[in-house]
Symmetry: C2
Subunit: 236 residues, 2 copies
DNA sequence: GAGTGGTCTAGACCACGGC
DNA sequence: CCGTGGTCTAGACCACTCA
């Protein structure tokens, strides 16, 4: 258990983030200051920040300093949305809340979120619309324990990204996520909202999102129409 | 146009790879040797290699040296295959060549491959099978100009990954790729091979692969059954 | 001009692989 | 044992931001 120094520094910085001492959007101390605090060279701090920066946890800005990544900036808004228009047009995304309930999760969702089936979760159903056309039917589950007092009104108010809400209202940062993608047929309920026929093929995108310490916080299932849009990804 | 030194070194190394002086699997000169050759410090060479390594173009091996990435190793075989079994079992992938033809591409494929519709391409159709069940129907297009003299026999012989064939027979390295994913319905032809009903939902995975200099070399369309498997990806 | 991150150097020592 | 990449340091200078 003799980790390289820069990894240890990385962990110390991460710890500050977990404890909430440095929050989303904050400017963290300069490299020189951190080097003095931790009694290591600036180069070692640099390397620690390099890693955190490549993990998109921190963001460097030359001449200004290093910041904690936030979902609250335009350009990062769509970080987790990989749907792209086939026609290249950039339409505005609209968001309609369909339902908001407090329920007990089924066994699968509970397991994914690492909670018991007796722990309540909020269930959010919503419809995403691009260019006036319904495109995605989302079903989202988050543990009540992490988001006490959340209401439908709050969700409607912050009509943009839920991640921004998690961050600003609950200090919970979504750092990364895993997606499992399949092709499925539309059910009656979904077909109605997406204005398509039952059994029409849809992209099923199951996403589990994590905050610090790889702790799962949100599970969602998105059902997407892929006539005019496609899911884009890169391999290397 | 005054790029950092380590980027210039990176470009010089890349140039050696493009010229084929260092080929897939080769051991490249040590950091110290490169530093002397290029008249820079070892630290600068390190940083150049760091970048190439994060791009999966080079692979470092402590105590041994730095190698050019190859598709010819077991662990890298499935680098570009993101399909995962829902049941967690690892079955062996089998490969059946369905057809091999020399044709003129349609406008779309020609555009993707950056060639004219008069330049011939090889069209390869094949069926991938896991655990005796047909899983993916692939249709692949590669410019004849890049793969002169390719035959069905060669493909069957190298029954594994085509990328390994491109590399060993033609010295063409696939470095990265873009995928566009949609949900579609099975056509008659595909339904027959995958042993499903027509109109059954399939994952349509369109992939454009690139070699050095972001030069596109292969376009393929994979149609996948996602009953027992799913496409897995990570977001950060 | 002061302070930040970005680049570059030179040199030390460590950890691993293979002879 | 030697040569490789991996870590760490100290110090120099550059490029950018902002007061």
């Amino acid at each position: 258990m003799n980790l390289p120094l820069y990894i240890q520094i990385k962990q110390k910085i991460t710890q500050e983030l977990i404890l909430g001492r440095w929050r989303a959007g904050d400017l963290i101390p300069s490299e020189i200051e951190l080097a003095n605090n931790y009694q290591v060279s600036q180069g070692t701090v640099r390397k620690a920040i390099d890693v955190l920066s490549s993990e998109k946890i921190l963001v460097r800005k030359q001449g200004k300093g290093t910041y904690v990544t936030t979902h609250d900036e335009e350009q990062i808004q769509l970080r987790f949305l990989r749907l792209t228009s086939s026609k290249g047009q950039k339409e505005k995304l609209e968001n309609q809340l369909l339902s908001f309930n407090k329920i007990k999760p089924n066994a699968y969702v509970a397991k994914q979120l690492n909670i018991t089936t007796n722990a309540y979760v909020y269930q959010i159903k919503r419809l995403l619309t691009f260019a006036k056309k319904p495109l995605i039917f989302d079903e989202i589950f988050i543990p009540v324990a992490n988001f006490k007092g959340l209401t439908a009104e709050t969700i409607i108010e912050k009509k943009g990204s839920l991640y921004r809400l998690y961050e600003s209202e609950y200090g919970i940062q979504m750092l990364n996520a895993e997606e499992k993608i399949k092709a499925v047929q539309a059910t009656d309920e979904v077909a109605k909202y997406l204005r398509i026929k039952k059994l029409f093929p849809l992209l099923s995108i199951e996403r589990l999102s994590y905050t610090y310490d790889e702790r799962p916080v949100e599970w969602r299932l998105g059902l997407c129409l892929t006539n005019d849009y496609y899911y884009k990804t890169e391999l290397e």
